[in-house]
């Protein structure tokens, strides 16, 4: 199975490991992430201004590229996923944005939200299946108590992201179980880490991160996992605790026995 893949800028620089472990794991699980050509930065933030078109165009290009190939578009970074999924929803459902974006794009055939956008975790859950992953695990992470940190971008707004129950999500917990580890459920797992203010209002971001880390350790987590480079940065830099944070793909690669390969 081949998917169009949008890695995004951060996965080329700061969050390289999120990307390389994803590709290696995909291979081990029998699907391929085919990076789309000439992708551009998604902008990182979904523009809320209803008259804002230019900052949505890079998403439309990526979406259209996948449509041309007849593939589903897979994203990895929470921010990229959030932006692309919401722009896709606009292209599908908001007449004004669709018309104006297409006027800019001058495509052979106008784009109207035909592409399905999947987060890597959704591919694991809905296309591969956690049961199948369980079978392919060679190094089960037995005994590890892992807190899933969802953050906000993957879950909200829930009617558009349609990722999981935004108030009580389970996808990452099921993922952790598939890898043989024990998920730790704590109430801050879907609270914002304050990533968007981590430079401007460092103290507030720090207090938000500390709540998350404190709650997770309180419920017995030895580590956190995330799919978001910004959360990763913020939880590492701005929280007082020493709870280690990993990317979901790193643990996946480890469990599937392909982590060493990547390191080489």
């Amino acid at each position: 199975m081949k998917y169009s893949y949008y890695s995004g800028c951060t996965l080329r620089t700061k969050a390289k490991s999120l990307d390389v472990y994803a590709r290696a794991s995909a291979k081990a699980l029998g699907f391929e992430l085919e990076e789309i050509e000439n992708w551009q930065c998604c902008g990182g933030v979904y523009p809320l201004g209803s008259d804002e078109i230019a900052t949505k165009l890079s998403s439309v290009r990526a979406l259209n590229e996948a449509k041309q190939k007849g593939q589903e578009l897979v994203t990895m970074c929470s921010a990229c996923h959030h932006v692309i999924k919401r722009v896709n929803d606009d292209m599908k459902n908001v007449d004004d944005i669709r018309t104006r974006a297409n006027n800019y794009m001058q495509l052979d055939e106008p784009y109207a939200g035909e592409t399905t956008v999947l987060h890597f975790l959704e591919v694991l859950r809905d296309r591969v299946g956690f049961d199948k992953i369980k079978e392919k695990v060679v190094n089960p992470l037995t005994g590890k108590k892992i807190g899933a940190y969802y953050g906000c971008l993957l879950l909200r707004p829930s009617n558009i992201m349609a990722f999981d129950n935004a108030e009580n999500p389970t996808i990452m917990e099921d993922f952790i179980r598939a890898l043989g580890a024990e998920p730790v459920i704590y109430p801050y797992r879907n609270e914002c880490c304050g990533g968007h203010i981590s430079l401007k209002e460092k103290e507030r971001a720090a207090s938000m991160c500390n709540e998350i880390v404190k709650s997770a350790s309180g419920f017995g987590a030895d580590m956190l996992i995330t799919a978001c480079p910004l959360c990763m940065y913020n939880l590492n830099k701005n929280s007082a605790g020493d709870l280690p944070v990993y990317y979901i793909t790193e643990l996946l690669a480890e469990a599937l026995g392909v982590k060493e390969e990547v390191a080489k």
Binding site: N165, E167, P187, S215, G218, G220
Partner: protein, 662 residues
């Protein structure tokens, strides 16, 4: 040709402000058949009706068109007036120039034009009207009440006291309903059981009332005055005549893992059980899902200990067929499921409960014997937070758009009772608005605030976060102080929205009674006929019609009973003559009409037909006019155009369309 009189009503300014009524009169006089036209301020008034009578006499009218409000409002009024003046009531047609014209248009010229067109269509129809005569049907002097809560009990008692037989069908093993689960009632704080159980006993003892518990309505056919209903009496596995209600079977039953429905699943009950101590009838049922004997064939302990020999594992469901003249729906409510409100951690913490669960916890017969304690560790709570409007007044599709009406009052009641019994417990209530209209209601709420020191905060809770030490952190907002609030609590109580009991959809479908998007039964008129369903002979009692508290429910129950008594007091009913009628010469016997008829009114018979001199036996449709409700489905479905609805024939409808399109 008919001699038609047209009467244009001003309806005060309701019509006349938007429609030029004089012009309508002037233009309608030009229509063929119209020999008289006039306008008047209130055509429905006595003076207005007199104008119609005078015109009938003086101008020799044979048909009437009244341009006024919806026929649902005053068609019957004008038909009666016409009949009194000597012409057949079915020669009267209404052109609705209020709801369908003046109320929805702003421009006078446009509205006047439309009013003339509507009047023209009605004139065209009346030209083809023929006198119709209603038939008669007998009234079965017995009523059925579906649901045995306070609404159903009160309705049944009132009907029975008027001297008519009533059957109550209740799907659970006992009557009593939601009210039996309540501890105290607002605003007087009297014990719910103390005022309900006497009524339950009265209903059970009443010679005119027959109660079918653990039973459900399975099938309904017939029509007002003559319904035929199948009631499924579910197998109880206990002989109701032999059982003495001693309760030994429940004590000895080894299977005690079934969640107690009565205590909202907060504790367990035995497989053989009565839902609560004051249950009526005081005869247990065996829950086949949990009974060891019924599941595996082994055990049989209850049979051994039963002195009366009442246990019967071979009992089967029984169908009882009974005729009724009227049916009252009193199916009540349940609280909504909270799976879409995970931010309140209801599914994640045992100490987040609904108000109905708190009601059971506060009750001496409840799972904690009336002691206020946390379900997680049994400790006494020191800080309790109430969250109002959980799922009520909801603007997204997670909850209900309506106000559940009872929550403000029962939350004030809970807060007050807790502060009274446990003065060291802090009670906080988060609310959107406090809505306490009702006699002595606002005084009650103010007492909670002023005398009992309940802390009311205007604002909503965003999230309840269970902490590692078992406490709950409540994150909310205080809109008056404009600040975020984080508050520790040992217990959080959710005022979950109420919704109609889940079985109501099925029942409404069987009764062809209409329901709204929230599954509340629709009343025939929201203001003037609030206890009647639009389906004749079906009446509404209690929360199945809309959220209401106990006093309102009891009032509505009485109102529904009066309507039922008014119906049962008649010996005969006039039937609607606007029923379907086949043209036997055109009928080809295809059965299409019988297949679409929702009332089973059409059958087929072999009949000798004289088709222009050709005599032969043909299979033709035949309509039972007592069953036909005049919906017209068959007239549309009939491929040969042989089926006509009397009073709404195909010719009449086409004439109306032609008049509109002219």
């Amino acid at each position: 040709m008919q001699r038609i009189g047209v009467f244009v009503c001003h309806c005060g300014s309701n019509i006349a402000a938007t429609v030029d009524v004089k012009k309508v009169v002037e233009l309608i006089k030009l229509e063929p058949g119209v020999v008289h036209a006039e306008d008047y301020q209130y055509m429905c008034s006595e003076a207005g009706q007199e104008k119609i009578a005078v015109a009938i006499r003086e101008k020799g009218l044979t048909g009437i068109v009244v341009c006024s409000c919806s026929p649902r409002m005053h068609e019957a009024t004008f038909r009666k007036a016409a009949e009194k003046a000597g012409i057949n009531p079915y020669m009267v047609e209404i052109a609705n120039i209020r709801e369908q014209c003046s109320w929805i248009h702003k421009d006078m010229e446009e509205a006047t034009k439309k009013a003339v067109i509507l009047a023209r269509a009605a004139v065209a129809k009346v030209n083809l009207n023929a006198p119709l005569k209603p038939g008669e049907s007998l009234v079965t002097k017995r009523a059925l009440v579906i649901g045995g809560g306070i609404a159903g009990i009160q309705t049944a008692l009132d009907i029975a006291d008027a001297g008519y037989e009533v059957d109550i069908v209740e799907k659970t093993p006992s009557i009593g309903g939601r009210m039996s689960q309540l501890d105290k009632t607002f605003p007087t704080l009297d014990c719910s059981a103390c005022i309900l159980t006497p009524k339950m006993v009265d209903a059970a003892a009443h010679e005119k009332i027959n109660i079918y518990t653990y039973s459900e309505v399975e099938k309904v056919s017939g029509f007002v005055g003559d319904f035929t209903v199948d009631i499924r009496k579910k197998a109880r596995y206990v002989d109701m005549d032999k059982c003495t209600g001693c309760g030994v079977c429940q004590e000895k039953c080894p299977s005690k893992k079934a969640p107690s429905e009565f205590n909202r699943g907060l504790n367990k009950r035995s497989a053989i059980y009565t839902p609560f101590a004051q249950a009526i009838p005081n005869v247990p049922v065996i829950d086949a899902d949990y009974c060891v004997k019924l599941k595996t064939g082994k055990c049989g302990l209850c049979e051994k200990v039963c002195q009366a020999g009442a246990i019967d594992y071979t009992q089967k469901d029984e169908i009882i067929t009974q005729k009724y003249g009227a049916i009252v729906v009193a199916t009540g409510f349940d609280v909504i499921k909270l799976d879409k409100y995970d931010e309140y951690a209801y599914s994640q913490s045992k100490d987040v409960i609904t108000s109905l669960e708190l009601e059971r916890i506060m009750n001496a017969a409840g799972p904690t014997k009336g002691h206020l304690e946390r379900l997680s560790d049994g400790k006494a709570p020191k800080n309790i937070v109430f969250i109002q409007c959980v799922g009520s007044r909801c603007s997204d599709n997670r909850g209900k758009s309506y106000c559940s009406k009872i929550c403000c009052m029962y939350t004030a009641k809970h807060a007050m009772l807790i502060r009274d019994k446990y003065p060291d417990v802090n009670v906080t209530v988060f609310y959107i608005d406090v809505r306490t209209p009702g006699k002595n209601f606002d005084e009650f709420y103010r007492r909670a605030v002023e005398e009992y020191g309940v802390n009311y905060i205007k604002g909503q809770v965003g999230k309840v976060l269970p902490q590692p030490d078992g406490q709950l952190l409540v994150q909310g907002v205080d809109l008056i102080d404009n600040k975020q609030i984080k508050m520790e609590a040992d217990m959080v109580v959710l005022a979950a929205a109420i919704e109609p009991e889940s079985s109501v959809r099925k029942i409404a479908t069987m009764l062809t009674a209409s329901i709204d998007t929230n599954n509340f039964l629709t009343e025939a008129h929201p203001k003037l006929r609030p206890v009647e369903s639009p389906t004749a002979g079906v009446f509404l009692s209690g929360v199945c019609q809309g959220p209401k508290d106990i006093p309102e429910t009891v009032a509505q129950a009485g109102a529904a009973a009066v309507k039922v008594v008014g119906l049962l007091a008649k010996d005969k009913l006039l039937t609607n003559p606007c029923t379907a009628k086949p043209d036997e010469l055109l009928c080809n016997g295809c059965s299409t009409c019988a297949n679409v008829c929702p009332y089973g009114a059409i059958s087929y018979e072999d009949k000798l037909i004289n088709d222009h001199g050709i005599r032969e036996t043909r299979r033709v449709a035949s309509v039972n006019s007592a069953l036909c409700q005049g919906c017209g489905a068959c007239t549309v479905a009939c491929p040969s155009g042989c089926m006509d609805l009397q009073g709404f024939s195909n010719r009449q409808i086409i004439a109306e369309v032609d008049a509109i399109c002219r």
